[in-house]
Symmetry: C2
Subunit: 341 residues, 2 copies
């Protein structure tokens, strides 16, 4: 298989990277040790933390693994007056008894990349855009494999032209943040079933199907559509090793997971999660939400307090549309079911 | 196979029904004669036209075929003052040199059903809701097979409980009108890849995967997800026998078909079509659009004039997300490719 050969893994199964503290070294290494490619979402990590992360992953597995970063969008990080946005969230801060936060300073992408290239993990994956030329060149010079993530055929073509080694075709079924970068996200919501064969036809690189794959049937179907492998997020988020909170994991295989929505309310970037109380309460303000990372910073104290107290209505319950197919178990057992052994 | 046995067909492939004049007896009969199940969307037809339609289909094929109706939603057809809506469309009427229409009287559902049951086609399929008990009972008394259409797992369960013989699981990849009926459509947009295995797990009846299936790979993948068969709309809409206009067919395999959107602008009910000039021009008025069938009636003169003059920007270019995989050819040749002969 082209993908397993490229990545040096046994089974064409990639564990999707989660940001915002949901990834864990235990999960990524369990997947890599089982013969897949474990991933860790590092976009919120500062450079020194990235260095430590790669060290920890190397200590936990001798097999290939991936570290994921977000490609910044133009204007991201420009100063924004948070006053009106804090005012809008004030009732929620009061209700949960937390203080409005000081706006966090997001890590600098170039410094993240420098730290990551120095640490040289076997694979780096990107979402949200085309990694800059110098990043691809440096990675390839060091023998690092680079994976890009596309939500449309045109994005897949742009990533391949830039020189990535494999393309994840991330359908709108997928949970968490949408990585659209060429068109507005609402014009880049192509279902996995439709997206995968079109990307397969459009690029020569190995294609990884993502979004809505949660069991053996999904793996088989993705390969039937022409994909070289799959990337599974929500299914691994539900395993014991992931760093998702108990309330989040419980919700993934609850009836509530049948209804997911795309919203900017939690982070300022469109992401898919379970429809909960906060989404209902703030739905009318969807268009007023400031961009990432401002909204993400403003929501952080609410997320943290809610996670500590098990309040599902205030947590960002990232979930793909196949969440009801997931179960609580070890990553190793789940991986065995996926590969049919 | 359970589906082929139930329907008395050779291959588990249903041609999706199109409303609004896009269906044709030539297409439905070609698909049935090739060994699949041809369908004709009759929701805009008055009872006498339905009687004639079933007669014409019987003359064109001795094999099973389906006629499709929309289950009306509560309040549909209540009187609405069209004045502000006509005013909003006035610039478009002027630009295309057409008169604002008199509001059409939509066919009565009960009368449609009575005519259809009397004509007794082999299969009746429904979208938009659960057909009433008396319809299911009468159909079964006459040996007519009934297919229901679900956009969520809960809808599939409701249809099975009501007694339909097979369930179409219509993922958000699908083109044309969304059939959501238990929750708002924006909470009922589950990608085909995610929806199909969950419906398969939830119901005992045969499950037909729909949305995003356009070639042999899609058929195989749908079966791998556990479906008993597939329903293909856009792929058959692109064939020579369909009644779609030339401009519509040409757009289906143009680059423009890469971007489809869900909009109420053309009919008052949410439907997926290619993003064109009218959608761009009226996007800001999406929430002001009156419900079906009022908006559909108000748009009719624009649709007609645009189709006659080949103005792609004013036609409702219904298309599923796999539209770029379609091609212009005969239904028979397309069917052969789907079944791999």
């Amino acid at each position: 298989m082209r993908l397993t050969g490229l990545l040096g893994i046994e089974h064409p199964i990639i564990q999707g990277p989660f940001g915002g503290g949901l990834s864990s070294v235990a999960l990524a290494s369990a997947v890599s040790n089982a013969g897949g490619l474990g991933s860790f979402g590092a976009h919120v990590l500062h450079p020194t933390a990235i260095t430590g992360l790669v060290r920890d992953l190397r200590a936990a597995t001798t097999r290939p693994f991936a570290v994921n970063l977000w490609v910044p969008h133009a204007g991201e990080g420009d100063p924004i007056d948070p006053t009106p946005h804090i005012a809008r969230l004030a009732p929620l801060y009061r209700r949960l008894g937390v203080e409005p936060p000081a706006l966090p300073v997001a890590p600098d992408f170039t410094e993240q990349v420098d730290a990551l290239l120095a640490a040289a993990p076997p694979v780096i994956s990107f979402v949200m855009g085309v990694p800059p030329r110098w990043v691809l060149d440096s990675a390839h010079d060091k023998g690092i494999t680079v994976i890009g993530t596309a939500t449309t055929v045109d994005e897949a073509i742009a990533l391949e032209r830039a020189g990535v080694d494999a393309v994840v075709a991330s359908g709108s079924d997928a949970g968490g943040h949408r990585g659209a970068f060429l068109r507005p996200v609402e014009q880049s919501l192509v279902g996995t079933f439709s997206l995968v064969p079109q990307v397969v036809d459009a690029v020569g690189s190995p294609v990884v199907a993502a979004g809505g794959i949660a069991d053996r049937r999904g793996v088989r179907a993705a390969l039937a559509l022409g994909a070289d492998g799959v990337q599974i997020g929500t299914g691994f988020l539900a395993t014991r090793e992931s760093n998702a909170g108990d309330v989040h994991k419980a919700m993934l295989h609850s009836d509530a997971a049948k209804v997911t929505v795309l919203t900017r309310l939690f982070s300022g970037r469109t992401a898919r999660g379970i429809h909960n109380g906060l989404v209902r309460e703030l739905a009318a303000h969807e268009d007023e939400v400031p961009p990432y990372p401002v909204q993400s910073g403003l929501m952080q104290p609410l997320r943290r307090a809610a996670a500590e107290r098990g309040l599902a209505d205030y947590v960002s319950l990232w979930a793909g549309q196949a969440a009801p197919l997931t179960a609580s178990r070890s990553a190793k057992d789940y991986f065995k079911e996926l590969v049919g052994t």
